[in-house]
Amino acid sequence: MPKKKILTTFAEAINQAMITEAKLDPTIIFIAQGLTDPTGVFGTLKNLEKNIPKNRLIEMPTSENGALGIAIGAAISGMKPIVSFHRMEFALLALEQIINNAAKTSFLSEGKLKVPLVIRLIIGRGWGQGANHSQSLETIFSHIPGLKVIAPTFPGDAKGMFLSAIRDNNPVIVIEHRWCHYLKDNIIPSNYSEPLIGAKIVKKGNHFTVLCVSYMVIEALIAAKYLEEIGIFIEIIDLRVLRPLKLDKVFKSINKTKHLMTVDLGWTLFGVGSEILAQVFCRDAIHLKKPPIRIGMADKPTPSSRGSIKSHYPSSEKIIIEIGKSLNIDLLKIKKVLKLLKKNSSPIDVPNNSFKGPF
C-alpha cells in the first residue's frame, strides 16, 4: 500500500472513498439527482460513470420522499445505497421515511432486516443562497435513535469515516458542509476506515476547550491562531459524530482547561451545543471556572444579502471576543487582534477568495 500522502480536497476524499469501496462491493448503489452530471453533486460524484456499472447509478427524479423510501427498500433487500441530497433542505421532504422507516426497521424486524444506507446532506452557505438553501438541521437527525449522524470536517476524516459509514449496517446521515468540500489536506490515497465513534482533538491547548461541529472547526482554528498571539491556547475538538454521542474526550479536556465553548453550525436553541452542555452539566459542571459559552447561528432564517449575514454565522471573531470576555482579557489586546484578523479575511459570503458563484 502506498503510504505517501497526497494533497486532496474533502470532495475528492469522499469521492475516492465512494468509488474505491463501490468497486469492491457490488451491492453499493448510488442515488441522486444529476448523478452523472458534468458537475456530479459538487464534484463529489465525479468519475462515477467511468468506474461503476450503469445499473448501480440510479438517477433520482425530483421525488425526495419516494426516492429515500426506495433507497430504504433497496437497503432492506441487500443493497447499500448512498443517497446524495444537494441541499439538506431537500431531505425535509423525506423525513417521514428517514424517521419512521430508516431508523426503525431494524428494531421492527427484531434485527432481521438491516438498513445499510448512507444519506448525504449538504449544507449550503454563502453566495446569497438564503433561507431555504443554508439550514443546518443536524439536531433533527441526531435526536432519533436508530440513526447514526456524522459530520466530518477534514479530508482525512471524511474519507475514513465515509468508508465506515458505507460499511455500517445502519442508516448513517452524513452532514457535509459545503465549505468543507474545499478544504485540502495531505492524506493517504489508500482506503482506511475511521470508526464512527467519538470526537477528535484537532489542536491541543490548556486555556479553553472549544467544541465545534463541522466547518466551525475552521473558524476555531483561525481564532486559535490569533488568540495565541496574546498568549491564549485553546483546545479545539472536532465533534465528528453526533450520534452515537461519546464525549469522553470533551470531559477530559474540560478537566484540564476548566473552560468550555461549543460552536454550533445550526441554531443554538435546541442545538448540538445544548446536548453537550447538558451532558457536561450532569457530570462535570463543578470543574468549570466560568459558565460555558454556547454559540451558533443567529436565531432567525438566513438572509441572502451579504449585508445582513454579518454576525449571522458564528465566526472566528465571535469566538475570540467571547473567549476574551470569559477569561477577562484586556479589551485593547482583543481589539488589536481582531483588527489583524479582519485584514486577513476573505469576503463574508464565500468559502475562499477563488469562489465566484453562481451557487
Binding site: G66, A71, S77, F107, E110
Partner: protein, 326 residues
C-alpha cells in the same frame, strides 16, 4: 371465470379466505377481553383481495402491507401463531411483540413489512424491486395499500419511479371506498377512475370486482405475466368492502356514515366467500360436508393459536433494547 381454476384450487382459495374470516372473527370476539392491547384493523369482507393476489405469488415474491395487514400476512402463508401472539404483544409474536397488529413482518415467508403510516411502505416495495433488478432476480414486489394512499404524494413518486426504471412491482389498491369514516367522493374526484392514476404514470392497470376471487386470480395472473414480459409495473384496483368499523372489533353501522343499501349489497350479495361457496356447492355435492370439515380444522387451528399466544410470555423491557442498531 372460475373455469380455468381446478376444483382443488378453488377449494384452496375458499380455505384461505375462510380461514382469514374465522381468524378475524375470533379476534373480534375476544378483543373485549382486553388482552389484545393494540389497535386492530380487521379484514373481514376484504379476504378475497389478499387471497386472490397471493395465490398467484411465489414464495420468493415479496409483500409489503399497511395498517390492515392480517389478511395479507395470512394469505402469504404467515404463521397464525406468530400473528396472534404479535397481536397479544407476546415474545412469540412474529416480531416479538414489538409492533403489534400494525407492524406484521415475517421474513421466512417474504412478508417483509407492514407500516401503519399511509403510503409509507410503498417505496419499500419499489426499492425491493430495484434491488431485485440489480441482482437480476425475477421476483415480484407487491405493494398493498388502501384507496386513501392514492391521495399521498409518495404513491405518485413511487409509480413514476417504478415506471421509468422498469421495475417488477405489482401495486394493489384495495378500494373499499372509505378512509376511516370518509367516503372516496369527499377525498378524490368523483367520476375519476383510479386506473387513470396508473395511466398518468404510464402504468398498465385493471379494475376488478373483489367479490369474485377467481377474477382476482385471473387478473393477477395476467398482471404478473405482463410484468414479467414487459419488465414493468402493473396496477390492480380491487373494489372491495370493509364490514366492520375501521379500527376495532365492532360494527359501526349505527353511525350511519355508510349507506345501508351499500352495506347490504356488499355483505349480502357480494361476499366473496359466500360466492365461492355457492360455486363449490354447484360443482360438488360433497362440498357441504367437506366445508364442515374445513371449518372444524380451521377452528381447531385457531384455538391452538390463541392458546399458544395466551400462554406465551410478554417480552421484557430489556429485550426492547436489542436491535435498535444492527
Amino acid at each position: 371465470m372460475e373455469k380455468n381454476i381446478s376444483m382443488n384450487n378453488l377449494k384452496k382459495l375458499f380455505f384461505s379466505m375462510y380461514r382469514i374470516r374465522l381468524v378475524e372473527e375470533e379476534i373480534a370476539k375476544r378483543y373485549s377481553e382486553q388482552e389484545m392491547r393494540c389497535p386492530v384493523h380487521l379484514s373481514i369482507g376484504q379476504e378475497s383481495t389478499a387471497v386472490g393476489v397471493s395465490y398467484c405469488l411465489k414464495k420468493s415474491d415479496k409483500v409489503y402491507s399497511s395498517h390492515r395487514s392480517h389478511a395479507h400476512y395470512l394469505a402469504k402463508n404467515g404463521n397464525l401463531k406468530s400473528m396472534i401472539s404479535e397481536i397479544y404483544g407476546k415474545s412469540t409474536g412474529c416480531i416479538g411483540g414489538r409492533g403489534g397488529s400494525m407492524h406484521l413482518s415475517d421474513l421466512s415467508v417474504n412478508f417483509m413489512a407492514s407500516i401503519p403510516i399511509i403510503g409509507s411502505s410503498i417505496p419499500l416495495a419499489v426499492g425491493n424491486a430495484l434491488s431485485e433488478k440489480i441482482k437480476k432476480k425475477k421476483n415480484i414486489s407487491v405493494s398493498f395499500f388502501g384507496d386513501a394512499a392514492i391521495e399521498e404524494g409518495i404513491l405518485h413518486e413511487c409509480m413514476n419511479f417504478a415506471s421509468i426504471k422498469n421495475l417488477k412491482v405489482l401495486f394493489v389498491c384495495e378500494n373499499n371506498q372509505y378512509s376511516i369514516f370518509t367516503h372516496l367522493n369527499e377525498r378524490q374526484p368523483k367520476k375519476r377512475n383510479i386506473e387513470k392514476i396508473a395511466s398518468a404514470h404510464s402504468i398498465a392497470s385493471k379494475t376488478i370486482d373483489a367479490s369474485d376471487v377467481t377474477q382476482i386470480v385471473n387478473g393477477t395472473q395476467e398482471a404478473l405475466k405482463y410484468i414479467k414480459k414487459n419488465s414493468a409495473p402493473f396496477f390492480l384496483v380491487l373494489d372491495t368492502y370493509r364490514w366492520k368499523e375501521h379500527c376495532g372489533p365492532m360494527n359501526d353501522d349505527h353511525l350511519n356514515y355508510r349507506d345501508k343499501s351499500e352495506n347490504d349489497k356488499w355483505i349480502k350479495k357480494k361476499c366473496a366467500i359466500k360466492s365461492l361457496d355457492n360455486i363449490l356447492i354447484k360443482k360438488s355435492k360433497y362440498w357441504p360436508s367437506e366445508k364442515i370439515k374445513i371449518e372444524k380444522q380451521i377452528k381447531k387451528e385457531i384455538i391452538i393459536a390463541f392458546n399458544f399466544a395466551l400462554k406465551s410470555k410478554l417480552p421484557s423491557s430489556k429485550d426492547s433494547w436489542r436491535h435498535v442498531y444492527a
